[in-house]
Amino acid sequence: MDSQPDTGVKERKPFWRAYLVLVEIEKAIAVILLLAILILTFGQVVARFLFHSPFFWTEELARFSYVWLSFIASVFVVAERSHIAIQLFENRLPRRIRLIVNCFSVVAVIVVCLMISIGSFHWLSETAQGRSSALGIPTGVLYGVVSISFVAMALHSVVVIAQIIRADRRERTQSDEQRRIRMSIGETAL
């Protein structure tokens, strides 16, 4: 589990406020998809028992919702920096090295996201022409949401880098202050 998400801090600047709202919206979309899975699967059971004929489309829609849910949830998890990672020597690293490692790990995320979203753009627009068997949902839509999720993850990651640098700067000024306090104590003591 990662360090406390920086998004919880009360922000006055409109950009950060809008950003927090965006993350909340993503959470709401994920919850709606989750409820859709629950209701569709439960509905399938009810249909089987009451009408002895399961709906033919519920399973497919539930499966698709699941694909979308997983990737959209991954988007706000990126914003909260709580994707599963190995946390070795978390606090023992010197501040500067920690900053570099933290930024590197986010840059790696951005590279992956861009490779997938840009790389699949051609395939999505040209080749993915099929439709799903039950509902006729185009393949492009099913995988398009996945592709867009990776774009969103890349954008969130850029914000995360900004947050890391801000947190680092705060820490640095704090330690400067502490140094100044220490020095002033030293001066009075002398």
């Binding site: 989750l34 694909v67 849910l69 949830a73 991954s74 990672a85 790696a108 790389g119 699949s120 051609h122």
Partner: protein, 423 residues
């Protein structure tokens, strides 16, 4: 050579704290780009295809069941009922702790959820009644191992989908090992409390006892829906999860044990956990594809078979490797990475896939109790306030019964396969 580079890149990225999913994806995507016959479209399709499966739908639904049960304080109710049952037996709180984990495990499929739910209630009350904090925390940690083995188990679902076995069979196969762990920990509590005569708890009024037991009964209907439904052939695992989730949500809201805002929080938590685990599953799907394309499992199997043709030796090696892997990786990620490689090798040795699945899940779960990245240790430290050093000290003796169970499960396959074969 290619395989070695991919695995090496993966390890370096993991150490540099790149999130597991992306540490897997980066070398795999570079492989896809470097190979002219592959396109990024195939990568995207692989990612989506891993999730596009009905049995896997059970994962978010069972995670939901666990989150709702936790938000509605259902563990609390179970513990109160169990306390009245164990009453004034010496060490009763210890037994209640283990039995509480057992009952809660029927609703939750992960060790961390179990440890959080039991730790916050049981550890403070055990300390108040004269148990050492390290023993209380260690016992809770060890008992949380029942969660990932006893159905419903998220690990079992993931394994079943990866290995192409049925989720129901994997669930049933976990029952006996989980009960053996429970028994082992009860023996551990017995030996601990034998020399400590002060470990009794207060007498409970009859009226209070009846209300505590009645209060837990509706909660206990959940495992009946899940286990009874699946074993009785009424539901598939996914359907059972949906029915249980709907039941628990209605129960929680209807009784006022939670409000709508609690429910929303439980759902956001479910979605986040699903996202965290399933993006690793998708990345693992791509990794398995790349490794299989390079013939990695076959080569590893050949190398191992040259080394030894005894399944016993292979299982020892497997246990050691998995325990080490579990020390560094969270179980779901480790499972998703290891199964595609290990399964074909194990089949060469004639090992039953269901048996292998329980061995893998148990091994990787034990890693949750060991430093440096034992998640359960950190969870217990956070929810109980017992110092991390003390938590670890208390967990060490509790690992003994767990490792004994692991050896039993590994070398007496009947413990695992007996029940599924009956059905």
């Amino acid at each position: 050579m290619t395989i070695l580079l991919i695995v090496l890149a993966l390890l370096i990225l993991l150490v540099l704290r790149v999130p597991v999913a992306f540490a897997i994806l980066l070398p795999c995507l570079i492989y896809v780009v470097a190979d002219d016959s592959l396109s990024m479209g195939i990568a995207l399709q692989r990612l989506g295809a891993t999730l596009n499966s009905f049995p896997l739908l059970a994962v978010p639904l069972f995670i939901m069941v666990g989150f709702v049960a936790e938000r509605a304080n259902m563990a609390d109710r179970l513990i109160r009922a169990l306390l009245t049952i164990f009453g004034r037996v010496r060490g009763s709180l210890g037994y209640t702790n283990v039995a509480g984990s057992l009952t809660f495990s029927w609703m939750s499929g992960s060790a961390t959820a179990d440890a959080a739910a039991m730790g916050s209630v049981m550890v403070p009350s055990m300390r108040r009644n004269g148990y050492e904090g390290s023993f209380a925390a260690g016992l809770t940690g060890a008992a949380s191992m029942i969660g990932p083995i006893m159905p419903p188990s998220v690990g079992a679902i993931l394994y079943a989908v990866l290995a192409g076995t049925s989720v129901g069979t994997m669930f049933v196969a976990g029952v006996v090992p989980a009960l053996v762990i429970t028994a082992g920990l009860c023996i551990y509590v017995y030996f601990y409390s034998r020399t400590r005569p002060h470990l009794t708890s207060e007498k409970i009024e009859r009226k209070e006892a009846v209300s505590a037991i009645l209060g837990a009964l509706p909660v206990l209907l959940t495992p009946i829906i899940i286990l009874g439904g699946i074993l009785g052939g009424v539901f598939t695992a996914t359907e059972a999860a949906a029915v249980a989730a709907v039941y628990l949500i209605l129960l929680g809201l209807g009784t006022g044990w939670m409000n709508l805002s609690d429910l929303y929080k439980a759902l956001v938590g479910t979605a986040a956990t699903t996202g965290r685990v399933m993006i690793i599953a998708t990345a693992g799907g791509l990794l398995a594809y790349v490794l299989a394309r390079e013939g990695a499992p076959k080569k590893a199997a050949e190398a191992l078979l040259e080394l030894t043709d005894s399944p016993w030796v292979f299982l020892i090696l497997l246990n050691i490797i998995l325990l080490i892997m579990g020390m560094f990786l969270e179980p779901a990620s480790a499972l998703l990475i290891s199964v595609p490689v290990v399964l074909p090798i194990a089949l060469e040795y004639g090992i039953d896939p269901v048996h292998l699945g329980i061995i893998i899940i148990l091994n990787l779960s034990i890693g949750l109790l060991t430093p440096p990245v034992g998640l359960v240790l950190f969870v217990l430290n956070t929810v109980t306030g017992v110092e991390l050093r003390e938590v670890i000290r208390g967990t060490l003796p509790a690992l003994v019964p767990l490792v004994l169970v692991l050896l039993l499960v590994t070398y007496v396959p009947g413990v695992v396969t007996f029940l599924p074969n009956l059905l």
